[in-house]
């Protein structure tokens, strides 16, 4: 008898290849595997078409191939209250939110974890590219082996208490290996295209989607010195450092978003990718989560300010109010409020927070928001 068969692992299945292979690997390891599809968003269109129905159908097909039970759970209300409301609030505040970080924190590793535990689960597993190291009653979150797919950035808000009940079976694999395993086993989702973008927007046009929820207020595009360069469609459509979609012609370009003024409804633009105004030397982050040890003294480590960015050396100064000041070893371009800053010690993800204030020469960059 395999000792794993008394260990129930509930797999969060999206109908994609990653979670399909997650379930497959656990099943091969002899666990008591249960597949659960989370329905977080209703995108049923006027023809009754709903991508969730298609995705659930893929979950059904894969689970039947693996001969594991499958169920669904509806978290539409929780998702709306905890993730989507936050998402809209951040845009209203002129920031660029990261709904995936919030979804992991509030839905996948909270509501879903609770649901799984109520079903007698010992662990929940997902197809995230991240690794866990369990030593002496301590769980550490490590980057996935596939550097291009590493998803620890999105997992920075999880606590070690939560991670104790989690498995990431894909963390030691490359994406290409995952596809290969899926093909070798003839899984129904082996050739399914990876989903892109924010889950609830899917393949839709982002601007169009956002305009259904937030009124767009067009305004002026100006340089920091006040020169009007054109009209913007609504501040929420732009993020710091963005080049696409500004439509500023003439000499002196290309042009980039360097900031916003919410009160005046002005979008600040500047010429040149390396425009000095895009650079900063430190930031203040809020909503800090430290996966294991909360530092009381300054620490030197590396940090990511966006997903799929290379690490940069930083020093983190804990503040008395629970926030941190993060000082960069080298000036950083396009640090964006609302995004996550995530800290690493080598391959170990230490935790992270939300970028709140961007600083240069000890002064907050007011135009960044």
């Amino acid at each position: 008898m395999n000792e794993n068969n008394n260990i129930r692992v509930v797999v969060g299945m999206s109908g994609g290849v990653d979670s399909s292979v997650t379930a497959l690997l656990l099943k091969e390891q002899g666990y008591d595997v249960v597949g659960i599809f989370m329905k977080n968003w209703d995108d049923t269109d006027e023809n009754g078409f709903c991508t969730a129905t298609e995705d659930y159908d893929d979950v059904v097909r894969v689970c039947n191939q693996l001969d594991i039970p499958y169920y669904a759970v509806n978290f539409e209300k929780q998702y709306w209250d905890k993730v989507f409301t936050y998402f809209l609030e951040e845009y209203k505040a002129g920031r660029t939110p990261n709904p995936d970080v919030m979804c992991n924190k509030e839905i996948k590793f909270k509501a879903f974890l609770d649901h799984a535990l109520s079903l007698g689960a010992d662990y929940v597993a997902t197809g995230h590219y991240a690794q866990l190291r369990r030593t002496d009653g301590r769980v550490e979150l490590l980057r996935g082996i596939d550097n291009n797919k590493d998803q620890t950035y999105f997992l920075n808000q999880l606590s070690s208490d939560v991670l104790e009940k989690v498995m990431f079976p894909l963390g030691h694999l490359d994406k290409s290996e995952v596809r290969k395993i899926a093909h070798e086993h003839g899984l129904a989702t082996a050739s399914k295209k990876d989903s892109t973008g924010i889950c609830f927007i899917g393949e839709r046009n982002f601007k169009e989607f956002l305009s259904e929820y937030l009124p767009a207020q067009p305004g002026k595009m100006k340089t920091l010195t006040g020169e009007v360069k054109g009209e913007h469609d609504g501040l929420m459509y732009y993020t710091i450092g963005q080049r696409q979609g500004l439509g500023i012609g003439g000499p002196g370009g290309p042009w980039f978003v360097i900031g916003k003024n919410l009160e005046e409804n002005t979008l600040y633009v500047g010429a040149d990718y390396h425009n000095d105004a895009l650079y900063s030397d430190s930031l203040v982050a809020t909503e800090l989560n430290w996966i294991n040890d909360t530092p009381s003294e300054p620490i030197t480590c590396t940090a990511k300010f966006r997903y799929r960015q290379n690490d940069s050396s930083v020093t983190v100064y804990p503040q008395e109010d629970g926030t941190v000041k993060v000082v960069f070893a080298e000036a950083q371009r396009a640090i964006t409020p609302g995004q996550a800053v995530v800290f690493y010690d080598g391959d170990v993800c230490l935790g992270g927070g939300t970028i709140d204030t961007v600083i240069k020469n000890n002064k907050p960059l007011d135009y960044v928001g």
Partner: protein, 380 residues
């Protein structure tokens, strides 16, 4: 853990006698009933015999039975077929908010195509208000479609009174009898119904079969074209083996009716008493109405359908919420929403348990023990 089936309102196990009879037909009598040779005649003979049994089971005559692919097709044919054939007389249809989707979605299709549909409310007991029915009848009303027994709650509608009300009106009376047929004794003349839908797989017969009773004088248009089967009302070569299996299931249902009613009443009592012994907090939906004994719909306060059903299944108890799923996740029941109100807790914490051939006193008791244990665990 051995599984216990408490979802007979969804479908039933096929009776061994039905399997035996069907196997015989499948292996020995493969003729097409429309053929003019000996093979065809034998098949036609079997078909005629089955049709007689179907007709007798509801007090109809053979010409009034149209074999279909099941309850859904029977409902579609009854509603669309009469709506299309009688559109010059009127374009108003009355049904209820608690119908099966085979009726509701068909009615909605008609609404999109120029018909007017009234959806009657139900009381908290799950029954319609006869006065409301009377108020909504007009000279434009061509059809009233009201289910005999609700598939989620087991609540029986006042068929006879509805038939009486409609006896003085030109509208046809259709009833979806899928959930009542077999357990309830039905006489179409006594009930004064013009159209009645039945499904085979709810009474231990094969899936993919049903019939529509349509009184001889009912004007009905075919929805399926081809050969002249079913007196041109439903083209397509008949599923002879299935129909003969259905016939066997009907005969069994008729002969065992009284016995089954007693047995299911006993099962229901065992199930409910066991929950009470464990001090489980629950209410019975449709408590005060007349109900069939094989369905109980229980509301568990502070619980949630998805969590309950998943836990039940993982512990080997197969039950259902009875309502539709989208992407696998359970939507609030439209039936319970009509009985209570939108967002009432009962619409998202109620479970349907339905008894049948797969049950005995022991496994009903065992299932109730498992249900009680899960609810106690989740209540902590």
């Amino acid at each position: 853990m051995n599984a216990i089936y408490l979802d007979h309102a969804a479908t039933t196990p096929i009776h061994p006698a039905v399997v035996e009879r069907m196997t015989e037909i499948l292996t020995s009598h493969y003729g097409n009933p429309s053929s003019i040779h000996s093979y065809g005649r034998k098949a036609r003979q079997l078909l005629d015999q089955s049709r007689r049994v179907c007709a007798d089971s509801i007090g109809a005559n053979e010409k009034e039975i149209i074999f279909t692919s099941g309850g859904t097709e029977a409902d579609n044919l009854a509603i669309l077929g009469t709506a299309f054939a009688n559109k010059e007389k009127g374009r108003h249809i009355i049904t209820t908010k608690i119908e099966h989707h085979a009726t509701l979605h068909t009615a909605q299709y008609l609404e999109r195509n120029g018909y007017e549909v009234t959806y009657l409310d139900v009381t908290e007991n799950g029954t319609i208000d006869l006065e409301e029915l009377k108020r909504n009848l007009s000279d434009q009303t061509i059809l009233v479609s009201i289910m005999m027994v609700n598939n989620e709650t087991g609540v029986i509608q006042p068929m006879k009174q509805i038939g009486e009300i409609l006896s003085n009106h030109g509208a046809y009376f259709h009833t979806d009898a899928v959930q009542g047929y077999g357990l309830l004794e039905i006489d179409v003349n006594e009930l004064q119904v013009d159209l009645l839908s039945v499904s085979s797989h709810k009474i231990n017969g094969p899936k993919g079969l049903g019939f529509l009773y349509a009184r001889e004088d009912v004007a009905i248009q075919s929805l399926q074209f081809g050969g002249e089967q079913e007196r041109k009302r439903r083209a397509g070569t008949e599923n002879v083996a299935g129909i003969v299996g259905f016939e066997t299931a009907i005969q069994l249902a008729d002969s065992e009716r009284a016995e089954k009613i007693n047995l299911y009443q006993k099962f229901r009592a065992i199930f409910i008493d066991t929950l009470k012994e464990h001090h489980i907090d629950f209410t019975v939906n449709g408590d005060k109405a007349e109900r069939v004994p094989n369905i109980i719909n229980l509301s568990f306060p502070n619980m949630n359908v998805e969590k309950l059903l998943t836990n039940f299944d993982l512990s080997g108890v197969a039950a259902s919420s009875g309502s539709a799923c989208t992407a696998g996740s359970v939507e609030p029941s439209h039936v319970l929403t009509a009985m209570y109100e939108a967002d009432h807790p009962c619409t998202t914490n109620s479970i349907r348990f339905s008894f049948g051939l797969a049950n005995n006193e022991e496994n009903v008791k065992e299932a109730a023990e498992r249900v009680a244990a899960i609810i106690q665990r989740l209540s902590k």
